[in-house]
């Protein structure tokens, strides 16, 4: 394996770190959801929707990691020739979604947890709680976009 290939693999690893944010976020939201469902088990569905929201960062990370790995042909087939600078560029393209994902997933989890508190008191306001949490996700979406544009324009 060349240095370029190793750097590209590192980039995929970095992208997948977005899952750290999602794990933290889904965890925080899940704690809040348990508390609310203890009072009213009927709110399971509603709280689950909010808990799922911070899960997307991890998926965006997985997506970019997968794209990078398949671009260099690590997933089955012939591993491609990757120059050191192309490898470095692919490493860079994994960075936005990975790094932004960690914090946005965590922060979104906190917003979702607060949303769960909101529906404990006002079940009809689920949509508003969801929107507040989704505001945070915007930045993960933007990071995904940047990662994708970098990835798709890197020539091996």
């Amino acid at each position: 394996m060349t240095l370029g290939q190793a750097l590209a693999v590192l980039g995929a690893a970095l992208a997948a770190l977005a899952g750290v944010g999602s794990a933290l976020g889904v965890g925080v939201a899940g704690e809040a959801a348990n508390g609310v469902v203890a009072e009213d088990p009927n709110k399971f569905g509603q709280t689950l929707v909010l808990q799922a929201l911070p899960g997307t960062q991890g998926i965006y990370g997985l997506l970019v990691a997968f794209l990078i790995l398949s671009k260099i042909g690590l997933l089955g087939g012939q591993i491609a020739d990757v120059s050191t600078f192309s490898g470095l560029a692919l490493l860079a393209s994994g960075a936005p979604v990975g790094i932004v994902g960690i914090w946005s997933g965590w922060a979104q989890g906190k917003a979702a947890a607060a949303g769960i508190q909101l529906i404990a008191k006002r079940p009809s306001e689920l949509a508003k709680g969801m929107i507040y949490a989704a505001m945070v996700e915007t930045y993960a979406v933007l990071a995904l976009l940047v990662s994708f544009l970098m990835y798709s324009n890197v020539q091996l």
């Binding site: 929707v49 799922a52 929201l53 899960g55 997307t56 998926i59 965006y60 997985l62 997506l63 997968f66 794209l67 398949s70 997933l75 089955g76 949509a127 508003k128 969801m130 929107i131 989704a134 505001m135 996700e137 915007t138 979406v141 933007l142 995904l144 976009l145 994708f148 544009l149 798709s152």
Partner: protein, 642 residues
Amino acid sequence: MNKLSVIGLEADKAEILRRLQDLGVVEINDPQAKLTDAEWAAIIHKDSDEDQVSALEAELNKVEIVLNTVAKYDTEKKPLFASRKPMTKAEYAKVLGSGDSVQQKVNELYERVEQWNEKRSEENVIVSQQASLTPWMSYELPLELSETREVRVFYGVIPAVADTEALKKKVSEASDATEVSVLGKDTEQQYVSALCMRADEEEVLDALKSFGFTAASFKGMKGTASENMEKLGQRLTQVREEQKALEAQFVLAPEEKAQIQCYYDEQVVLRDRAKICDRLLATKKAFYFDGWVPAEKQSEVIQTLEEYGCWSEVKEPEKGEETPVLMKNNNLIYPVQVITELYSLPKSYEVDPTPIFAAFYIVFFGMMFADIAYGLILAGLCAFALWKYKPEGLAFRLLKTLVYCGISTAIWGVLFGGFFGDMIKIKPLWMNPLENAMFILAFSCILGVVHLFIGMGVKAYMQIRDGHLFDAICDVFIWYVFIIGLALLLFGNSYVAPGSGTIGKYMAIIGAVWIVGCEFIRGKGIGKLVGLWNLYGTTSYLADILSYSRLLALGLASAVIAQVFNMLGRMLGKGVVGVIGFIVIAVIGHTVNFLINALGSFVHASRLQYVEFFGKFYEGGGVPYQPFERKTKYTKIVKEDK
């Protein structure tokens, strides 16, 4: 929405209220303001029917307990959405009968519920008695025996840590003729009994107490522990059987249940009718109320009121007066109202945004989800739920909106070429966003600009309607010029037409000058300089437009993740194992992807309306129209088929 005032005779009140409730179109106002007005307060008093309300509340409470209990033992499958059963008036009256027999049935069942509760608490008592008796099973003397002519009997507990040998020794030191036995031990205490001569009672008790002895007692129990245990066991079986017997009576035939549900609805209707009296003002012989009625329903209401010889008056609301809000949209757009409702109703003088953004909402959702199979599944599932459960209200509107969104998703799937990602390779009708990301990004932003411009257009419309043409030019139209100019300046020469960059430059300059300049005309004092600050607002437009890039990003996310799962499935190779593995991975993976991205598309399509679009013009905060109607839970009255 028009303002209705009515005066009628007290004698006809009950009948008039019943008719109005059946019509269900009049919202009756709270008369608090009139009561504090001296002129009104001199001649009227607040009507109310509190006794009737509380009697009906109590009855409702009873029926509710009965229905809840019955539901627990109901074997019928519960539907996903509660829907009210449609009935004609005649059917409803027939099921309900005079109401007496149902009431009797409810009372009977309520009594059974109470009996069941008693049995339940008796069961609890027995179980806890059994638990406390268990350690004493090896104690052979009757529990009530505390002394004979010569001998004193003690039994009780000492802490688990106490040294029983030392205890025995100390007791025998206190008196010669003693017998101490340890019956058992658990994590907290040890169970001991002691016999001694009555003459030495005090010394022995002191010795015991020095080891932390506490006497136990079983009040009301006669005979040994094991005898009592047996008795309790028998009683327990009996109590449980009695519960079973009662539970059997909670299983109702469907007709009986329907009858009780009708009875519940009837009580709710009567309660509401008694409660609405709170909002009436009364003299000795007459009553008065005012409220709101939608213009197209008012003739029906007036006709009814005239049958009873009421005086009534309908007025249009005064300018700027807040009225309750009832959104009116045609059948096609009506469901999408749910998106507006989830945000906030429009104020009565505002434009209802639903028909303006409905198409955008559906297009945005489809673009972010974009897959033929996902779209067909979403539309199919929601259409099935609509057909099967016939939900009403919010659930109906939400499901119908999702049907639209599903169809849109399938159409975008055709355009972008996706069927469960790339499970079946389909040539995109338009283009593959994975290969033309920059183009679709630009397309998303242009779509965003159109969306935002329409939102700003609504603001201009409202300003012009209210006679503020100049404000509309400064706040909206000049921004059109400025933003289009900037876009042409930046991209015109390379993407639109050579030379259009120059036109863009002049448009941007004119726009910027006007934006700064117009505040010198309409601003006052330091406000004249606000224009410079407004120019800085360009950044917020930039942020708004770039926000639409999520249309591309989320579209990519749902497509690529679907492809990832397909690829994982294919990795297992060919052959039987490969095929089974592929199916398992595909089913789980696509289910997860479907759920996450359907949720994401719903939330982000909403966000683009709420934050970007509504931010341009919409205020919200209207008070929903709440007519006095039959707010029933189980049944709804429909007109008879003719």
